[in-house]
């Protein structure tokens, strides 16, 4: 931090305009949020909505079960993430291969990413969980979570490969040209020059995809696995009350918001570093 920066901060602290804008921000927040809250609480149906969506006793009663069911979501999420990272990179590199000989590989990668980004995740989960299992090639008693892992990996590898591809294409061709002029092979320049820079650049969008993946773990409920969403549905139907689903929302908020802010922070840091790079 430079002296000028500190001076600027010092000045801002006594700036009356800053105080004024803080007060305005506070008042407008109170008016907007308070107003919205007032409208909701005074709606004719609020008592019924409060009982069936924000029911304290039911939330307290269902929370321990929700959390232990959430362990399944965490397992799915972590395993799929570990599988998707290399698979997506392989797909992206396949797609970036030049030369006529590699056409079939490019086509396969293209079709794969197009198809799996086009199909709704729930359909993939259903087809894998009921259709592929029905082929009779696998032991049908295989843990259903495995089929969920396969389905989510197929879907998210397509997304992640697109993120990698964008990163690889964002590396200036002069980098590869320079590497090749140093005598590195096409593969070596990709391996030691292009991909390392690309991966660093795509970490924020990758994390963004993982936020989507975290939430999509609930799709595995469709093939029978009792994870957090299915557990909430069971509780919800038993009590005729939607509060367990609000419990699911709370759990996902608590888990996801730190990741969201990590992404924001990384993006902001990249932008700062890029700006400094230009100034230098």
């Amino acid at each position: 931090m430079t002296e000028r920066g500190q001076a600027a901060r010092g000045r801002r602290r006594i700036d009356p305009r800053a105080i004024r804008s803080s007060v305005i921000a506070l008042v407008s927040s109170i008016v907007v949020f308070g107003g919205l809250g007032w409208i909701i609480v005074h709606a004719p149906g609020w008592p019924a909505v409060q009982t069936s969506f924000f029911n304290g006793p039911i939330l307290r009663e269902s929370l321990p079960g929700l959390l232990s069911a959430f362990v399944v979501n965490i397992q799915l999420f972590l395993i799929v993430e570990v599988l998707v990272l290399p698979l997506g990179l392989v797909l992206a590199v396949m797609r970036g291969l030049n030369g006529p000989a590699f056409l079939p590989i490019r086509v396969i990668s293209n079709i794969y990413t197009d198809v799996f980004r086009a199909i709704p995740g729930l359909v993939v989960v259903t087809v894998i969980g009921f259709g592929v299992v029905g082929l009779g090639l696998f032991d049908p008693r295989t843990d259903q979570r495995l089929f969920g892992i396969v389905a989510l990996t197929l879907v998210y590898a397509a997304y992640v490969s697109e993120v990698y591809r964008a990163g690889i294409e964002s590396i200036h061709p002069s980098q590869e040209a320079a590497a090749r002029s140093l005598g590195l092979s096409r593969f070596q320049s990709l391996r030691y020059v292009v991909v390392p820079q690309a991966v660093r650049r795509v970490i924020p969008p990758l994390l963004n995809d993982f936020i989507g993946l975290q939430k999509d773990t609930v799709l595995v409920s469709f093939i029978g696995v009792v994870e957090i969403f299915r557990y909430a549905q069971i509780k919800s139907a038993a009590t005729y009350n939607f509060t367990p689903l609000i419990g699911v929302a709370l759990v996902f908020i608590v888990v996801t918001i730190p990741v969201i802010h990590l992404v924001d922070w990384l993006v902001a840091r990249d932008r700062r570093q890029a700006a400094q790079g230009v100034a230098r």
Binding site: P140, Q144, Q233, A238, Y240, I246
Partner: protein, 313 residues
């Protein structure tokens, strides 16, 4: 950082909403008219409504002068049935509630008759399960959808007296070693499936208590698909549904037995919490029970009950 504070604030608002829900757990009940007492199945509770209030003309139904009954679509046999010529009224699938054929369709018209509605004054609407207990105005006067009575559910909806008493049953493939099981103890070491939101799932946990976690599907049809794939060893469903599965849906499946859980389960009509119709529907069901109409309808549309053996512990 500021956004983070706002996010945390939202969480706090949610938490606060829940906390205040806890301090006054039954705001809906207190807002309901005093005549709408919590439905009890104890026979000692006499219906408080006068016959006059239950006359069709005086009933505050969603469409004046008409009775609107809800059920889910597809309308599964044997609770509903297609017309004798195999047709169905749009939009109904598998069964057609509007023809009076099938157990719940027949019960719906029987209740309507006791309330004084002509058959032509009865309309049926599609009500998905979750909609039947969602807050807010309802599109139906009562819902007949194999809803099992549960005390917890009566905090949100009125549930009538039972119009069908029955047990849960186990369906397996004929080739399964379980097909010959006669005791609950033989069932322990297997994987079972059920439909989400049903007491069938409760029966797996409470009666079988299997060593492996049960799988829970969105519909019975998906559970049956998993049974065909041998992903699960057995499906637990109510007895009439078990009959439909084994006779119509799956050729190579069989009912192994029914579970006697001690307290008999029963289906209730679901009504809006505090509905002025609840007492009248209860009176109608009482009278249909007393004169044997419900038994007649059950043996006409669900005629296999006694043939299925009961599991021994």
């Amino acid at each position: 950082m500021r956004r983070m504070i706002i996010s945390l604030g939202l969480v706090a608002i949610l938490a606060a909403a829940c906390t205040s829900g806890g301090s006054s757990p039954t705001p809906a009940a207190s807002a309901a008219p005093p005549s709408a007492a919590v439905v009890s199945t104890a026979p000692s509770v006499a219906p408080s409504a006068t016959p006059d209030a239950c006359a069709a003309a005086n009933l505050p139904t969603v469409t004046g002068g008409k009775l609107t009954i809800g059920t889910d679509n597809p309308a599964y046999p044997p609770y509903f049935a297609e017309n004798a010529d195999g047709t169905k009224t749009d939009p109904w699938e598998l069964g057609d509630p509007t023809n009076g054929r099938g157990f719940e369709s027949a019960v719906g018209y029987a209740i309507a008759d006791r309330l004084g509605f002509a058959k032509t004054d009865v309309t049926w609407v599609v009500v998905p399960f979750a909609t039947s207990f969602a807050p807010g105005p309802k599109t139906f006067d009562f819902d007949l959808n194999q809803v099992n009575y549960k005390t917890e559910r009566t905090q949100t909806a009125d549930l009538s007296k039972g119009y069908y008493f029955g047990n849960q049953a186990l369906v397996v493939l004929k080739s399964s070693p379980l097909a010959k099981a006669t005791t609950v103890a033989e069932l322990k070491d297997h994987v079972y499936g059920a439909q989400v939101g049903t007491t069938s799932y409760d029966a797996i946990a409470a009666i079988i208590a299997p060593t492996k976690p049960a799988l829970v599907y969105d519909t019975n049809d998906l559970a049956i698909k998993a049974l065909g794939n041998k992903t699960i060893d057995g499906v637990v469903v109510d007895l009439p549904t078990a009959d439909f599965i084994t006779n119509v849906q799956v050729d190579n499946a069989t009912i192994v037995g029914q579970f006697d859980g001690g307290t008999p389960e029963y289906f209730s009509a679901a009504l809006t919490k505090g509905s002025p119709l609840t007492d009248c529907v209860n009176t109608a069901i009482d009278s249909l029970t007393a004169d044997g109409t419900l038994d007649t309808l059950a043996s006409k549309w669900l005629p296999f009950q006694d043939a299925v053996p009961v599991f021994k512990p």
